[in-house]
């Protein structure tokens, strides 16, 4: 699956545009490559087209123009169900099934893939451990969990069938700062072990710098630039610099307002 000699990009956007039925353009002329095993962060403010880009990859949305290739094959040639099952998907609202226990939630993809029950059970146990959840949580319902636990279940569910790709849409966005930092650290450790190809959407620069191998800054439906975290901080591109500045100012302003 993660063949180190395979140098084709795992995911490739060529001149992709996405328009609403009303003609409004959410994404324009996007060119982007995601390498195997990297974590590409799509960074940008609300409405910049990050989530749209992400949803084009698992075809929850279909591009109006251009080509998207996954594993070297045009996305139009993929069986959409297959494509989605080999692509883990984590969203901010988690979207856990409220009527399923934690175990059933995690085991959803293996179950629809027709795995035998005992194999699913083993896999669920393994995943609970992997994302740092107690095994006895397996029989609980999502409403009985904390926000952080729910998000861990969401990650475990996305990983269940060992997908090649992982699409994460602000997965830690709704968490308190401490839980968020904890999950970010765990994500890094996990990613070091699993080496999945990850596309991660966030508007948080700090999160992008921490988690990304590369950062793609988006603005008003277009890709501004793609940089490694180090390059990003020192970029002279006005839009990139503006993003970095905005974050610095926020941090400093928060400091100064503190104990006076």
């Amino acid at each position: 699956m993660n063949d180190p000699y395979d140098h084709r990009p795992a995911i490739q956007f060529r001149n992709v545009s996405y328009r609403l039925d009303t003609g409004y353009e959410l994404l324009r002329g996007l060119n982007l490559e995601v390498q195997r095993g990297e974590t590409l962060v799509l960074l940008g403010r609300s409405g910049s087209g990050k989530t749209t880009t992400l949803k084009l990859i698992n075809r929850l949305l279909v591009q109006s123009e251009g080509e998207i290739h996954v594993d070297g094959r045009s996305i139009r040639e993929w069986d959409v169900i297959r494509l989605r099952r080999m692509t883990g998907y984590v969203i901010q609202e988690v979207g856990l099934f409220p009527h399923f226990t934690v175990a059933r939630n995690i085991g959803v993809v293996p179950q629809i893939e027709g795995w035998p029950a005992d194999r699913i059970q083993n896999r669920v146990r393994e995943l609970l451990h992997l994302v740092g959840l107690e095994p006895q949580l397996a029989s609980r319902y999502p409403r009985e969990l904390s926000g952080g636990q729910r998000q861990r279940v969401g990650v475990a569910r996305a990983l269940a069938a060992d997908p090649e790709f992982l699409l994460m849409d602000e997965p830690f966005g709704a968490l308190d700062p401490i839980t968020r930092a904890e999950l970010q650290r765990e994500f890094l450790a996990l990613q070091q072990r699993l080496g999945k190809t990850v596309v991660f959407v966030t508007h948080d620069l700090r999160e992008a710098l921490l988690l990304g191998t590369r950062i793609a800054l988006m603005e008003a439906g277009q890709l501004v630039a793609t940089h490694t975290p180090a390059e990003f901080m020192h970029s002279t591109d006005p839009l990139v610099a503006a993003y970095v500045d905005a974050f610095d100012t926020n941090l400093n302003a928060g400091f100064k307002r503190g104990p006076s």
Binding site: N58, I81, V94
Partner: protein, 210 residues
């Protein structure tokens, strides 16, 4: 002679009419469930059909019950027996709450949950039966509950075309200008309605997620 005494004295007849009443209501609700729920699901999949289906069911609701019984009278196999006719009419009336609640129940399922299911590669059928339908079940049962209560009331009118049921007493009492006879039909019918409401309400609560 008070109502209770009348009912006790005529208990075999009261029970018979109650059984007839339940047959009319039960059969029509089962039919309405078998037709209404699939139709409700259908219009979540083909939004084009939404307006005609809900509009049609709405129009049926506006037809006065006696008129509807009259309209259906010339129908070939159905018009031959009064109870068939009554069951068909009651089924038609029960359709609206069933279609509408199935539709709104499924449409009301949390978008994030549906999107997560789709994003994980559930087929439309898997999404429907594993996610949307179970989560909409409480709302759908609420529709059955409304339909059942309405049907129990409407079924009393069926006596006017000779389909039997507790309406027999009501019409007989009206003709005799005898309140006790009217109440001997009305009280059991009302009790049935309350019973249906309470028991389906309990079921609705049990089957609702949360």
């Amino acid at each position: 002679m008070n109502v209770l005494q009348f009912i006790i004295q005529n208990r075999t007849e009261v029970l018979e009419l109650t059984a007839e009443h339940l047959w009319l209501v039960g059969a029509s609700i089962v039919l309405a469930v078998l037709i209404g729920i699939p139709l409700g699901i259908l219009i979540t999949r083909w939004p084009v059909l939404n307006k005609p289906v809900l509009g049609g069911a709405n129009i049926i609701q506006t037809i006065p019950s006696l008129a509807l019984f009259g309209f259906l009278l010339p129908a070939p196999w159905i018009g031959a027996r009064a109870d068939r006719l009554a069951i068909l009419a009651l089924t038609l009336y029960a359709l609206l709450p069933l279609i509408r609640n199935t539709y709104t129940g499924i449409k009301g399922v949390d978008r994030a949950v549906v999107e997560a299911g789709r994003g994980m590669g559930m087929t439309d059928r898997q999404l429907l039966w594993q996610v949307e339908f179970p989560l909409a079940l409480g709302v759908i049962i609420a529709g059955i509950r409304v339909a059942a209560v309405i049907s129990i009331g409407l079924a009393t009118i069926a006596a006017a075309i000779g389909a039997g049921g507790l309406g027999e007493y009501i019409f007989r009492g009206l003709a005799m200008v005898n309140n006790q006879v009217i109440l001997a039909g009305a009280i059991p019918a009302a009790s049935l309605a309350i019973l249906a409401d309470v028991s389906l309400g309990w079921l609705e609560k049990r089957l609702s997620p949360h």
